[in-house]
């Protein structure tokens, strides 16, 4: 269980970092923003199965990396879409203020765009980490030597139905606990100024 959780969190953090960098590129110029939107559409179109098989082919069946890569690849467009949508909303709402105050692009990004995008990002992140957890299990089933996905596949191969159901139930419990104890409070905290 700890392996699956760790894979999901690492994949999520990787997706968050890459999404932040890509969103900044979109913020820098309108031309690049167009490219980022096209890129987002493209990566959303790639199947989880393709990510999983390619990652296993590259890193090997026993590597820990494929579940992390696959999780990141699936969470990334969800987070990026949240960031881009948030950026657009914030720019539309506070564009006049930026002009009135004469803020530099860096000041605009740090004082307005980033904090203004956080509530949108929190909602996207909550959704993304849920997806990450589910996808991480699929990736573990393909490769890896540990984690809930691996255990489900192992029990399936051994013909132990109870084991499959038990590990499946554990995954559901893990997701519910994670949402109620961490993600939902985090989203509420970030959105507190909108209430």
């Amino acid at each position: 269980m700890a392996t699956t959780l760790l894979n999901s969190i690492l994949g999520f953090l990787l997706a968050l970092a890459v999404s932040g960098a890509v969103a900044y590129i979109a913020y820098v110029s309108d031309l690049l923003r167009g490219l980022v939107y096209a890129y987002n559409t493209l990566i959303q179109s790639v199947s989880v199965l393709v990510w999983a098989i390619v990652a296993v082919m590259i890193f090997g069946v026993t590597s820990r990396i494929p579940p992390i890569i696959v999780t990141a690849a699936v969470a990334h467009p969800i987070i990026l879409s949240g960031m881009l949508g948030g950026m657009e909303a914030v720019e539309k709402r506070y564009g006049l203020l930026v002009k009135i105050l004469g803020l530099t692009p860096t000041q605009e990004f740090t004082d307005i765009i980033m904090p203004g995008t956080l509530p949108h990002l929190a909602a996207a992140a909550r959704s993304a980490i849920g997806v990450a957890l589910r996808i991480s299990v699929v990736a573990e089933a393909f490769g890896a030597s540990g984690g809930i996905g691996y255990e489900i596949m192992y029990n399936y191969d051994m013909g132990v139905k109870e084991g499959v159901f038990a590990w499946g139930a554990l995954l559901v419990a893990l997701m519910v606990l994670l949402d109620k104890l961490a993600l939902s409070p985090l989203e509420n905290w970030v959105r507190r100024w909108l209430s």
Binding site: L96, I100, D111, W193
Partner: protein
């Protein structure tokens, strides 16, 4: 001497003319008003005066620093009033001590010192409007451009704001106030330019004396 002059200003959006041959001047230390029907282009006029937007034709002559106070305050909900006000100083090279000194003086003057630590959602509309005004004043502008400053405020807040604007005017801060609340406007400015429906033209300029309200109403709504 005029601190702001608009000379034969024209502006159109998407082929639709919004401002047509607008000329006006703002004498130093005076407050003038602009009134007109909703959507006639009053806000566009202020944005052009603040050099936030450029006119299609015509000229804007500024002899001082203008600051626009927008209608809906545009206070950032994730910052306290203190941080919202101080944000205006970010583009300037001003020491933290000087910034704090200015903040304290302006907050005391506007009566919002006790609210500085609060978020915009935690204060009344009147206090939020004063915070937006403080954010404009902290950069020590020569010209204040106020867009519908009385909208959405209760009577007490309107009176307090009118008093603040009158005292600023006495201190030689030049102001253009756009408002459709004519009685409040007349109590604050020396003269009023009346704009027509789109494309906005100046149809009348009159002193804010006795009988002005009746003249304005007749010019705007009964012709």
């Amino acid at each position: 001497m005029a601190v702001l002059e608009l000379r034969h200003v024209y502006k159109a959006y998407g082929g639709e003319e919004v401002l047509h041959d607008i000329s006006l001047s703002l004498p130093e230390g005076e407050a003038i008003g602009i009134a007109g029907p909703n959507g006639c282009g009053k806000t566009t006029l202020l944005k052009i005066a603040a050099r936030i937007e450029a006119p299609d034709r015509g000229e804007v002559v500024l002899r001082g620093k203008p600051v626009l106070v927008p209608q809906d305050n545009l206070l950032l909900p994730w910052k306290t009033l203190r941080d919202n006000i101080l944000l205006a100083l970010k583009p300037y090279d001003i020491s933290p001590a000087e910034a704090e000194k200015r903040l304290e003086a302006i907050a005391r003057r506007l009566g919002i010192t006790e609210h500085l630590g609060k978020y915009p959602r935690e204060v009344s509309g009147g206090t939020a409007r004063k915070a937006a005004l403080a954010r404009a004043l902290i950069v020590e502008p020569d010209i204040l451009l106020l867009d519908e400053p009385y909208t959405g405020l209760d009577v007490a807040s309107v009176n307090a704001l009118k008093e603040t604007l009158r005292s600023l005017s006495k201190e030689k801060v030049s102001m253009i106030i756009v408002s459709h609340q004519l009685a409040e406007l007349l109590g604050t400015v020396k003269s009023i330019h009346l704009l027509s429906h789109r494309p906005a033209r100046i149809i009348k300029t009159l002193a804010a004396g006795e009988g002005a309200l009746e003249t304005i109403v007749r010019s705007l709504y009964l012709h």
